[in-house]
Symmetry: C2
Subunit: 185 residues, 2 copies
């Protein structure tokens, strides 16, 4: 499975109004807390991989935790990666397993997310602690042959929301957080 | 948490009769399929650690999968290790995450297990494919101070089942399987 994802900085208030005008389907809000790990045997910053434990607190539902591996970007056009993700019962135990194997927590990203569905895409409004406000438009496809069409569709959705695909950022929230910490901004 | 576990080879039919005579509480039977992984950055055989994905098929219940880290033995007297284990939703995805991180499947152990409770201990009758029949007596304790008494209690249980604590094996089923494959027996 491939994830096609395009992200741009945005004024979330304005995007929320456009989503309402376009009658996008609200999918609820969550708080996400993501811890990213360093590997003992590879430099993930160089191999362009990531290992993450994510806890998500939906409105009116218990916390969910998932562990995720993200592989390197597969093209230059969008944030498309191979991804493997499964739910785990207990965040602290999964952290202990990784720590015992030599994987150390590198950084934690916390954000409020609101999700909508529009024209088959998931549109996510993110307010990221210490980083800023962003909109992500994404979808999943089964094979590489479908990537190009999915990406074009994501650009169309951005434009309908009053956003410019040329503003696309390929830096992850983790990367943006580390940059912001490095510059002290 | 520490796991105190004593394992001896046994004739399961005879032990089953003793358990019945002692009115041990049957806890059901499961099929367990365990895959053990090699690490990319450590020789687990040397560090005496293990990383495992276990799928368990209880009678009349859906499969359960757990990922487990086992640390080195903490004493010379029994198979006592520090352990971290949590459920995961999908075995294949967890395997894909580990494979992407460089952890390769080393061996798979399949066994039929019947569990009983006797005097606060879990007594497990194991029939292990290509390895043989064994009985394990185990319990969990919170701290090292309780290990000695828990171990003595496990020996008492073995004796009541007609088994000899001196027959204790510290080799894991994985180790026994690898030995059996190495000797071609």
């Amino acid at each position: 499975m491939y994830e096609v994802e395009v992200k741009v900085p945005a004024d979330l208030e304005a995007v929320r109004d456009r989503l309402e005008a376009l009658e996008a389907t609200p999918r609820g809000a969550v708080v996400q807390v993501d811890t990213y790990y360093d590997a003992p045997h590879r430099e993930f910053a160089e191999t362009d991989e990531a290992l993450r434990i994510r806890s998500e607190r939906p409105e009116d539902a218990p916390d969910e935790t998932r562990v995720t591996y993200k592989g390197p970007l597969v093209d230059d056009e969008s944030k498309t990666r191979e991804e493997a993700e499964t739910s785990v019962a207990d965040r602290e135990t999964m952290d202990a397993i990784l720590a015992n194997l030599g994987f150390e927590p590198a950084a934690t990203v916390r954000k409020d997310r609101e999700r909508f569905t529009l024209e088959g895409y998931t549109v996510t409004l993110d307010s990221v602690d210490d980083v800023g406000e962003y909109v992500e438009v994404e979808t999943d496809v089964d094979g590489e042959a479908e990537l190009e069409a999915a990406r074009e569709g994501a650009y169309d959705v951005l434009e309908r929301l009053g956003l410019d695909p040329d503003d696309q950022l390929r830096t992850s929230y983790l990367g943006l957080l580390l940059e912001s910490e490095a510059t002290g901004s």
